[in-house]
Symmetry: C2
Subunit: 96 residues, 2 copies
């Protein structure tokens, strides 16, 4: 199933950038980064529970917002994209 | 139907911040901003076509990324949230 993960962090703060890198590191094992703080991950239910648990342990729940959207298995027709399709290169922007 | 709209812009650039404000202004008429560049909008098909057309006209398709996710009408069980739930106040961050 496709899980869309969106994460809100102020990346002007080094600690926030570190948390975003940690979130991305977990997510890219299961899918791809489609925007700065948006990840699409293909997961089975066990992987989803594990990834969700890891991400919850990374975020600062007083500062960050983490949302999961369940797009199911028939997700191909549910996504539309406009604008730049260039691959996001987190190392160029996010590393401190 | 619920449409999730995600938008990637570099808000360190005044023109980008302006575009993000313009995107948000369109989206909040139909739903709510749940993260910095993530909007959940309740739309019928005609509204969706109109909003999508407006947003495409706002973005810089060489710099920005705009994605639409169709969550349908049975979206309540498809969304999970963790972390801060404080209302996002764009005027405090995004105005130049």
């Amino acid at each position: 199933m496709l899980i869309l993960i969106t994460y809100d962090v102020n990346t002007s703060d080094p600690a926030g950038r570190k948390r975003l890198r940690q979130v991305a590191k977990q997510c890219v094992n299961y899918g791809q980064r489609v925007q700065n703080s948006v990840f699409e991950c293909l997961l089975d239910p066990a992987q989803y529970r594990m990834l969700q648990s890891r991400l919850i342990s990374i975020i600062d729940d007083q500062k960050d917002s983490l949302r999961f959207y369940h797009l199911g298995n028939q997700y191909q027709g549910k996504i539309e994209h406009f604008g730049t399709k260039s691959t996001y290169k987190p190392e160029g922007i996010l590393l401190v």
